[in-house]
Amino acid sequence: MGLSAKDSVHLKEALQIAVVKCSERCLYQSAKWAAELLDALPEQPDEKLGASTGPGNYVHPAFYPNPDPEEAALEARELNRYLLAKSFFDCKEFDRCAAVFLPESLLAGLLSAKASDITSPRGKGKAISTSASDQQSLPEISQKSLFLALYAKIISGEKRKDEDSEMIMGPHDLGTVTNKQLLVVSRFLDRWFAERKTDDGEQPTSYGFLEYLYGMVLVKEKNDSVALDYLMQSVHLFPWNWGCWLEITNLISRIEQLNKIAPHMPQNIMSFIFHANTAVNLYQQGQDLAASLSDLLDIFPTSSFLLTCKALLNYHSKDLLTAEQDFSNLLALHPHRLDSLDHYSNILYVLNLRPKLAFLAHLCSSIDKFRPESCVVVGNYYSLLSLHEKAVQYFRRALTLDRTCLSAWTLMGHEYVELKNTHAAIESYRRAVDVNRRDYRAWYGLGQTYEVLEMHAYALWYYKKAAGLRPWDGKMWQAVGSCLQKMGRDRDGIKALKRALLADSYYESTASSFGSGGPIDRTAQMDPEVLLQIANMYDRLDEEDEAKAYMELCVAQEDGGAAGADTAGLGDSVAIHHDSPGGPASDGEGGEKEGGHEGTGVTVATSKARMWLAKFAMRAEDYATANRLATELCQDGVEVEEAKALIREARAMMENLDGLG
């Protein structure tokens, strides 16, 4: 999707304006994001001419005065105070910054007035009309200054909250410390919006930032639906504020929700980026998403943000090698950028690329060792070296630097599991989930921990959560299935495990159709463990035919190619049971794919299956088969004694039969 030259100029101008506006309001991260995107736009050859026409009298639209004359007048009048406040903010003197426009007395008055208001619930209109006389009116200042002041208030509250918090996971660290400034800001904005509305019933012009601020406050107060309304208003008014989009992303916890609100979004490139990013964050995958990302990358070819999204997409679709390469390229393009390198370290961890992970950790700690991302990378490295105490130490450091560092909470949970400290592990996972309810690894970890504690019913609930977040991840379903099996609910267990098999083959197909071209050798065939589990459950349900089929399928996994025909036949039985819209996941395709791969070779699972089959053959008086299977077992050198006994028995029976015959 290329852009015309005109569009490109417009886009560039819009982004430039966004950077200036966000910086004016001290929304540093949003400004940074926009500037990065701006930088990723390729140079247009004719653009320089336009800029060089009139260096003397050319004023960039970003520096035009406010189009609203009233606001413009206000801004002009309080320019001095605004500059003062902005400098204070830049020097991190947040309270002082807020006090430039909103004296403390005013805010205190606001609080007390509101308190009395609540005690006399006599209708809103009345309250305002009566209180207009006794409580001070809101100060007459421009929206920009108002935003800055209130934002400073919130930031100051956040800072204090961090300061008041106890040591990470300490005895008093209950996560209950709140931002005390939220209340006053929320009251203020509530009234501000209310007053504006009562003026003439219609919303007069505003620039989206105050809506964003109110939305943010509401999110923090867990008032999600109202927050979403305000945030949506904000992006309609000013779509270039990435922070606002991020808040919306955080509010959306399911893909259905995303699809529901998608039509109400403004139709522009930001919305497009938002949609792609949110989808990636919701662990979606598929060609549409990949295509839209690559469209975006056509416009912003070097955008680190979009490249990260692409790498994460590959990661979530379990295409780790491609993801690793994506991240590696990203690292080469933006060597000083630390954002999302923690995901990269996760990938390296899974791929067990120790030297590279060590290098990454070294690089991160050289750039800035006091960034949560660096600490997570180092923690991952130590975890890979089985130095779990040190890993925990680094994850804690990451959390001390940023309590909302999601991956650190989860990873710390993993480390505590390794250290056999299940209580701490559960607490860590719980924190992770509280920070972001979409983190399937934390849910899965919780389930695992409870399973270790043999609380299967409890674990099941968490596994189900995880499976709900990643319906196409076989591991989740397998966990659900095993859990069900242990609880004795074999039927449901079989269902879940079959779904796991299906999910694996689904990944297979999506990964190959994504066209990354990387070698894919994971999940190429069905997991013999799962097959054995299913077979065992059927066995317990006394459905011997099914059990036998699955046992044979399991044994067939030893040499994928030879078992192709067998698998295709049994694939149907899987297909019969799959109870969800499989969509593009066609069993035939999966079967073919398997045929092309090497088998797993002899594993414990296949040997067990073979033993079961041999015993089954004995029971079915098929001594020749039993003899063959037992001999194979002997050749594989697994459970030789038992196998030899079987062979003897089978031969004896065969001789008996011969004798009889």
């Binding site: 080469a332 590279k356 060590a358 290098f359 680094y394």
Partner: protein, 802 residues
Amino acid sequence: MSRILTPARIGFLALIQLYAEGAVPNDAIVPVINFVTSHVFDCDLTTPATTSTYPATATTSTPPAAGTWAKAESAISVILSLREFERVLGPFAAADRLPGRRLWDRFLEKLWAIDTLHALQEFFDRLPSYLAKTREELRRHRAEHGDAPPRYPHPGIQLSRASPFGGFLRNANLEFLRLRFDTAADLWKAFVKYRQPTADYWRRRNPHYGRLSFDSVLVAAEPQWGGDNTDALAVLAYGHMLYDTDYDDASPVSTHDIEALLEFQVEKLHRFGNRVPSELGEQFNALLKQSHAIPSLFHYVSFSDTWRAGDYFTTFDNLHRYFDYTMQYQNKPFHQYALMNMAIVQSDFGCHREAIAMMLATVSTAREARDTTCLNFALNWLFHFGRAHPKLVRELERSSGLSSEKEILAFLRAKARETGMWVLWSSALLGEARLGLSSGESISAALENMVRSSQIIVERNMKPMMGTQLSVATTLWDRLGLAYMSTLACEVFLRCHAKNSIFDDELKATGHLAGLLAAQGKYEQAFATLEQIDKNSLRLAKASECWHLFRGIVKLRRDLHHNNLDAADHLLSQLLQAEPDTLEPEGVFLIDSMHIEALMRRGDFDAAFAKIDRLLAELREDDGDIALRVRLLIHKAHLFDCVGRPEKGFTLSVRAASLAWRARLLPQLWHAIGALANILNALAEFAAAAQLLVAVLPRCLESDDVFVAATLYSLLADAWTGQAGEVDAKTQKQKRTECMTKAHEALDSALAYFATVEDVEKQCEMLAKQATLMRAMGDHVRSEEYAAKYLALKKESMARNE
């Protein structure tokens, strides 16, 4: 900065691994192990044979002090580069595989195998596999595998866990485990930098090693990232050291190394009173600059250094800085030591009043803190200080009620014995001996004290005390007039004990030796002796001042004898300004007495008389050394002689003689007898004079004071001549001739001795006397000869003095 681990230590670990793997050939084992132990455990297995380089061969390449610092130098060079490893390992062939490979190559192979941070981690993780299995592990092994011998991953030697190498390996492993990640990364960076100088060599051997081969991750990723990006990342991760070799950012030095070096320096500073050689100091400072944490001991080192350099203000600054950082030491208050150091420095810089006040404060603080060590030291110091500066202390004694010297010493001795402070005990004994000597008390008592102290020194092996012990011995022998014993004591000290004692003692012994040589007229030898002193040690302000004084004294002595009075005046004007406590009282007195001599030679008798009187009064007031008083008395008698009124010096001479006799100050006694004989001569009691002189002369020759001997001979000649005059020329011609011949012989001897000390005036006087004597004997030819010699000598001396 890590606490113990440094790139150099990684090198040592690799070397130990090589050793354990059996790659070190037999002939290299001892040097390699010695190399490792001397740097890792601070113990040199092949201690060099205890042959002091002093002074048997003056051309020895290494002065004794060079040896003392060599260890620090090599420690620093190991810390800074691999060259030391190459020097040790280069000559040996590796014990295995390819021919022509040196041990150094194997070693480099080990180092270059560590090609990522992760490889470094694995390197340390692998260390325990070189250790022998513990009993517990063996038990478990037996339980699992039966009686099969445990298998080790490496063939070759298994290091016992308790062995030094095993301990080192375990410690290194543990230390690395405890490092924070960024410290480990810093270690890795430092290691890359440390290893980089060998890259060229290694690439020549292994051509496939490329530009980025120090980190295999970079090499692996280069095709994907592209050259520029890879470089950017490499610079980001490794800093600028890759492209700029001079760029110092990572410090390869550990706290442990720094502390070891500092302790080494402090030890040297304390034991030898030396300064750190400037080169070494610069290197060390460069190391320190790179390290993050500067141990407070460093301030102590710089304090000592500036102190020795004589930089008063900086010294105080550093001293305060050190004690500000070290108010608490091993959980004990440290204040009194600060005060004590301050007092010593004050006194060293000549601020005696402040020093005393400070030391008194030390005493009271130490009393409060119940720190007996400090208290005893302070009292000892106060005593010695009082000996050197009686005036200052006298006021104090009156006010503080401190008892007499003897009592203080006895107290100190008892205390020292109680608390087991051997050094103090020995020095108290020696102090008592010296006190006894200077107040002219029993020699045997002094000797007894010396022997007791000597016993303590030998029993407790207190080598540093040898200097004091032998210096008391030299004093004793000097007083007894046994010059060769005194020389012997000096030589023994310089040859055997100098390397264990502080430089001050060495300098004093050398100075004393030079003085003795000068007294024998061996000026050149005296200068040569002084020149042998280590130049680095002379960087001490005090020492160099002292050394210059010694040189000045020898020179002045020669100038006086040469009658080169202008040069002598010039020297005197400098020497007289010397701080009185740079030298011992004896040295100061020497300068004063030479001043008197110069004045007398100039003919300025009034000034000389005034000076003698002043000095005498001072000595009497201070209750000073009896030997000095005797010498002053003799000088005074000599002065009377010079102004032609020798009889006025009679009482003086007799007093001097009796004092010297009582105190067994034999050289002074002979000198006094000479003065007495002179008076007798003047009173025409020639026979008595001759009798006295003949009795005294042989003993005097023992004392090696050639000038006194020559004077005695000339007096003897006078006495004989006088006797010849007394006998009737007609009647007792034979006796007259006999006397004249004896006089002639005495004159000859006197002339010879005066010639040895190169005293021109006296030589001329003797020659003139000879000429006269010859004429009186009627031998005009020889008289003419002597006269001609006289003239030649005069001319020569004029020419020399020009």
